[in-house]
Symmetry: C2
Subunit: 420 residues, 2 copies
């Protein structure tokens, strides 16, 4: 069995490499047509997907998944139509492949070009939601990459049904079916074996909880781009007008608390604290938020609990917020750089020096000035669908679209030049 | 001792992070001035460096290093002047930091900017040549990164002398001395400990032999950009004129055989082989090159030995070349993608369809059309000094300059926007 798994991991990688080499030679039009065929087939075959999804739902109920998890797993005609629509939207994006990023002539007549090309083979390891399967496949195909998708065991049957539809559409479009391979086993031992296929897999993107991501980083010989969830902050500067602070803080915390770009800690400059902590704190409590404050916060706000060191590190993903009064902008920056997850952090201020200083000093992928952290999102930036929000600094940082699934090659053209 | 080493690894990383945070706030002018101060001090303190280098040379002779290695290790006034000149050249490059890579307005009035910033902390693990110490320090400082440099034990005393000079210059320029830290122990156990400081080191660049690089990849929790040496090819297409093929092949193989962008295998299209293998093969042999050929090559060229499977994988870095006759351009591409190291590969052809097909299909960081592989180099491309030639596909591919030691952050500016 272990030998079988090893062979399976290797064959996934080898087949993906072959498919990736063919994809690198396709035109944008061919990939566009294949994406439309996939979108169309998802709609046409919705009943088959729903039937497969029903098996996952039965298993999920037996395994006593929470109502929230069941909801994320469930597919109906409306959700499948949305999946198809997302694939169509990816198809309609401009083709990232083939762009001449830059180019120039050298004195010896050589023409130097930096040309955008697909990365090759991308493996994505993710949990739960079956719509990730079609989204990830579409983004990889758009950017000319073969992909290996390893979804969660909860959505296994749904994923297999989606896999069959995608493979069919690829074949009908004249593209290799191995351009999109969805792992057909739930055996957890496959993942470490995949992570050793460094000859034939170029990039691994883990999407899910922190323990999944840490395990992938620990085991992988292949470069990994991490998508940690966000411990995001809003810092309210000394002279910030109350309306500005209030609307940003409340939106960042309350508009959708369960997602990675929601705020988890609010920092108030001490000169703003007397004015703003009581009013904004009360609004938060009225909105159903549990407030955990530093000692100075507790003096200004009744109904808050004491925050401890652990709170500053915590992504609640819930209606809970940590609040701290800081001495200065510098202390706010230090707090964010120490406790934060380098995802998204905001400042509320009308002082341009403070804004510039905050933007330069906060070591995060997304820095917001006078707007909600909730805007940290590929769609909100106008990038189209995203494969996730990178919390890494290399290759891609922040929202990652199809263009971030490309690399470049140097093309040097001459007519017999040699080096002296 | 092991506990001491652990503490040392951690303190290197923590101090580098602090220095990196300060560097992120410096102006290009401050970093420029510091680089000029370092260049000036290297010249002024040449005697101290030469004295330290003498200790390394004594140890090297005791350890029976080869003459070539001794030569690479030796520093004299001329070589130190070159090191200083290289630092000055890096200083004179445009500042990569602060560029607005792109930006736009959203319908809701938010301004989105993708702004180039330093990566943070870069660790470079390298061997032998002491000039890498000042080159790497200069490129990291230019791009606003703190660096941790771990050189080879052979150049330990030289590196320590260079370290003292750089630290002094940084202090006098008002920059943190920990912006450039050179590891002060030769204990090999330090490297794996450094590779676990993922909280405070953002990137590792190993430069050296394949076994060093593999060990780093295996142990690192930090993203690694690999710089493997090159198994480079020249493919001579069916109708290629003899002069073009000859000048490119001879230059690629013979001009400097010991470096990574020299050619190791020559592939001839079968329709060109009768015309070109005897003539070019003879010229190679006359130039002192040992030729190892496939069966078809041996029939066309006397004086060649038989190549075996291992030869196709080998980077000789010497006056040896493997020669194979292939059926088609497609077979040449397949050979290169299978046996090559994705570094630099060339085609010689006047047929634009063949050139385009080769450029698209060869999965290498540098693809040359009608010119020598030896041009694969940051200086030859006009990029200035390079930290190396990446054989990876993520973040940076091919010659890596100061600009490749940066990342970006998204800066989103508004006036109270919230998400609905």
């Amino acid at each position: 069995m272990s030998q079988n798994l090893e062979n399976y991991a290797e064959s996934l990688a080898v087949d993906a490499r072959k498919a990736g080499r063919l994809l690198a030679l396709t035109s944008g039009r061919q990939r566009y047509d294949a994406l439309l065929a996939i979108a169309e087939a998802l709609g046409r075959e919705a009943d088959a997907i729903i039937a497969a999804n029903a098996k996952d739902l039965v298993a999920a109920e037996e395994n006593k998944l929470t109502a929230a998890m069941l909801d994320r797993l469930r597919l109906d005609a409306g959700r499948i139509a949305k999946m198809a629509k997302a694939v169509r939207e990816v198809a309609e994006q401009p083709d990232p492949v083939g762009e001449i990023i830059s180019g120039w002539m050298r004195p010896n007549g050589l023409r130097i070009e930096k040309r955008r090309v697909p990365i090759g083979v991308v493996a994505i390891i993710y949990e739960a939601r079956p719509n990730v399967t079609s989204d990830a496949a579409a983004l990889c195909l758009k950017s000319g990459n073969a992909c290996i998708l390893r979804g969660g065991k909860e959505s296994f049957h749904s994923n297999m049904a989606i896999a069959a539809i995608i493979a069919d559409s690829l074949r009908q479009s004249g593209l290799p079916a191995a351009a999109v391979q969805i792992v057909n086993t739930t055996d957890r031992q496959l993942v470490p074996l995949l992570l050793r296929q460094e000859e034939n897999i170029d990039l691994v993107i883990p999407r899910g909880g922190e323990s999944l991501i840490r395990a992938v980083v620990e085991q992988s010989r292949i470069p990994v781009i991490k998508h940690y969830t966000g411990n995001c902050h809003v810092y309210v500067d000394a002279g910030c007008p109350p309306e500005l602070a209030e609307q940003v803080v409340l939106n960042a915390k309350c508009q959708r608390p369960g997602v990675c770009n929601a705020a988890e800690t609010i920092l108030f400059h001490q000169e703003a604290a007397d004015r703003l902590v009581p009013a904004i704190g009360r609004k938060l409590i009225e909105a159903g938020v549990e407030v955990r404050g530093c000692p100075r916060t507790l003096k200004l706000l009744s109904g808050a609990r004491t925050a401890d060191e652990k709170d500053w590190y915590t992504e609640y993903l819930d209606l809970i917020v940590a609040v701290r009064v800081v001495d200065s902008l510098e202390q706010a920056v230090e707090h964010i750089n120490q406790y934060g997850s380098h995802h998204t952090d905001a400042i509320c201020t009308l002082d341009v020096r403070a804004a510039d200083r905050f933007v330069a000093a906060v070591d995060s992928g997304n820095v917001m000035v006078n707007c909600s952290t909730r805007f940290s999102d590929g769609g909100e930036y106008g990038l189209g669908a995203e494969i996730g929000i990178s919390t890494d600094k290399l290759h891609a940082r922040g929202p990652m679209g199809a263009g971030d699934l490309t690399t470049y090659k140097w093309v040097v053209s001459g007519y017999g030049q040699v080096r002296q």
